[in-house]
Symmetry: C2
Subunit: 448 residues, 2 copies
């Protein structure tokens, strides 16, 4: 057992023995995310009884660290509005806002009525922003000083403001009209002489965010400029809040999950740890959409039933040609969709990219077509049937790579998230084209 597993085991035992005092004492030296894991693993009743007896400062951070899927807001609500308010007061405003954001408005109002006025105003302001925007992610707790202050004055201000603040790495500097004009790394303040002016040692802010900016965009800026925090400013460049790197890592992880699930054919929200009912709700609608497109491919085969009845060997090649088209299309799609997501396709370069995929399809299609002809010959097919199979495979590979690039680019152009629907469009197209090529050429060239 690792140290962490031992620690979890120990906390679990204290919880199950209903030793709230012992649990609190042990939890105090421990990272809140570990406490959070232990809480998430407890039986509901045990957990509720424990939470009723633990001091608010231990519950607060543990709930803030809990995964969304564990529904920490429901645990909070279950403790009653007064205790919930005590817990919120222990948190940074952004964590507090995130924690209650999923609750119904009446419940939020009931809890917030017990929070002291200043904190309540901060939390309410944050709740107004879209949860996935910079405004929804930012905290308004930060240290700001006038650029005209001295280093000594800045340190005094930090002492005054920083008492109850989470980790911070920079001091924001504003001018006489309260506009953000600089960022002062703490390391520079530490070594500055007391009389030095903040203005002389601050940097211009390398980048700022607006409250409406999408959280993914904020994450990209932060990665690009390697900054531990980004200031959020209004149109007059007045400081509204800051977003720190740890929020951004969470965002990147959540967005990755979303992209991967969409690519896998789950465009709605599916909680990874959700139960089977939740999985059915999120997946069945999309399966019905897929069924519609599958009927389209089936209709093509239906149209050519006469040909298949005469040359049954074509039925053997149907899944091979359609399937290989799907594979090649998905490859092109994965590369193109990822480039789009990373903002790696400059305006006007779309056509060049489709051209690249055309070349890839030409070459790969030929390389696979040659193998297919050899196999067809070994199976004793006529050379004409071999030629039909080869041409259908080659043509479908070209359609696949071109569509794999063109479809996400087109969807992106008209403002649709290319991750959602691209995959089903591409494989439907390769199914249909594969069947039309194989059965169409077969009808023209092979029927007597």
């Amino acid at each position: 057992m690792t140290n962490r597993e031992q620690l979890h085991e120990e906390l679990r035992r204290l919880a199950e023995a209903e030793d709230a005092a012992g649990f609190a004492a042990r939890a105090r030296g421990v990272h809140p995310s570990d406490v959070s894991d232990v809480l998430a693993g407890l039986d509901e009743d045990v957990r509720l009884r424990l939470l009723r007896r633990l001091p608010p400062e231990i519950i607060s951070e543990a709930l803030a660290e809990m995964e969304e899927e564990e529904h920490p807001e429901e645990l909070l609500a279950a403790l009653g509005p007064e205790r919930a308010a005590d817990i919120l007061e222990e948190l940074e405003d952004d964590d507090a806002a995130d924690l209650v954001a999923e609750l119904p408005p009446e419940a939020v109002a009931r809890i917030l009525s017990g929070v002291d006025e200043e904190d309540r105003a901060d939390i309410e302001r944050l709740l107004e922003y879209d949860e996935e925007s910079a405004g929804g992610r930012m905290t308004s707790s930060m240290v700001a000083v006038p650029a005209s202050a001295t280093a000594a004055e800045a340190i005094a201000e930090i002492r005054r403001q920083a008492e109850e603040m989470e980790d911070f790495y920079q001091v924001y500097c504003f001018d006489e009209r309260h506009r953000l004009v600089g960022v002062l790394p703490l390391q520079r303040l530490v070594v500055a002489k007391p009389q030095t002016l903040v203005r002389e040692i601050m940097d211009p802010p390398p980048v700022t965010a607006t409250p409406e900016m999408d959280q993914e965009e904020v994450a990209r800026l932060m990665a690009r400029y390697n900054v531990p925090a980004i200031a959020v400013v209004d149109p007059q460049r007045k400081l509204l809040g800051r977003i720190t790197f740890d929020d951004v890592i969470d965002v990147v992880e959540a967005e990755t999950t979303e992209d991967l699930l969409r690519f896998g054919g789950i465009p709605g929200e599916e909680q990874l740890a959700g139960d089977w009912r939740q999985a059915i709700r999120s997946r069945l609608p999309w399966l019905y959409v897929n069924l519609l497109t599958a009927f389209l491919a089936g209709a093509v085969v239906y149209f050519f039933q006469g040909t298949i009845a005469q040359i049954v060997a074509l039925a053997v090649w149907m899944p091979i040609i359609a399937g290989m088209g799907g594979n090649a299309g998905t490859q092109a799609l994965a590369v193109t969709a990822r480039r789009l997501a990373l903002g790696m396709i400059p305006v006007g370069q779309g056509l060049k990219l489709v051209g690249k995929e055309l070349l890839v399809g030409l070459v790969n299609g030929f390389a696979i077509g040659v193998v297919v002809v050899v196999v067809a010959t070994l199976m004793g097919h006529t050379w004409l049937l071999g030629a039909v199979v080869m041409l259908a495979m080659w043509g479908n590979q070209i359609v696949a790579t071109v569509a794999g690039a063109a479809i996400p680019l087109g969807l992106d152009r008209i403002g649709v998230d290319p991750a959602v629907a691209s995959s089903v469009f591409v494989t439907t197209l390769t199914d249909i084209c594969g069947f039309v090529l194989l059965l169409g050429l077969g009808t023209i060239l092979l029927l007597p």
Copy 2:
């Protein structure tokens, strides 16, 4: 045009006018990642002439910020060993090591021979670690003080060590045997009284990494514990280096790309911005693997040719049943693979997860099967053919969801990265099972 586009335009014009002095002056106030973008967009000759004339401190950061795919190491090598050495000396050791890591060993040796001894030793040490490990990602530049020092002594030490250091947010504290015993956030040092002992205001390190640890694991720890940097220690807990959040954001992005491409059927390395030759090299081998599995599915159809010849309508249902199985399997696979990647599946929970997917397949398969029967009836199929189609669809949906969970779990258990091969295994299985169910049931129940 945004401010950034204007800036890029301006720098590009200076570069193309071969005004190196003007470019250098303008670039000085600008973030290196912007300079890097402009350099990446220039013609090769223009860029080389410019790089020959720019001061090393401007080139160094711009090359360090450049995407791997732009091959900054080749630009560095093209400048000759002496100039390359000057440029490396301007960089943090980890950035310098990353920059030369892709060059052939002789070229690295030639360049490093011009780097001063201390820097060279640091870079050479970092080059020994696997590039994707914590050792390969860490920098050895950091500030460390004895835990027994006072705040004033710590500040003096920072003044001494921090001169040429990138941003840092914490001071590491060691005991008399040089073991890491604490982490001191700068914010606390700023407000500490000069005589306060470091020991009294430091925190125990919430988490540390070993040099062999995989970079993804480091990223997860950092996200989990919300720390801007993680110390890398040896088995005696001696401090070797630190990894900062900005490296981790890059790691998460790169791993996301890798996961998505693998899921899309590109298990090798494909550079997103690579040309068509590179795309063919990375994709064709996997298409050949897929072709092999497609032949397996084709072989099933081959075996049942006699049945198809008598009941051609079965050929119409083949792509529908196989395709829907592939879709359901990919959904289950996406959820399971992502849970595995996030370490969200506790030991011993695998079977429970397969059980959940079995339920999903049962319900969704039935829901789709009902629609399929209705369509079959509308097409004028006999009720027995309708039943065959329904049963094949239902059965294949169950196989799909179970395989979509079981295959990645199984691969993970035997130590194979589930992202690589899962997708082809799942769709091959759903193709084969779909055909066996449809054509097998058809042979048994429908043939006279």
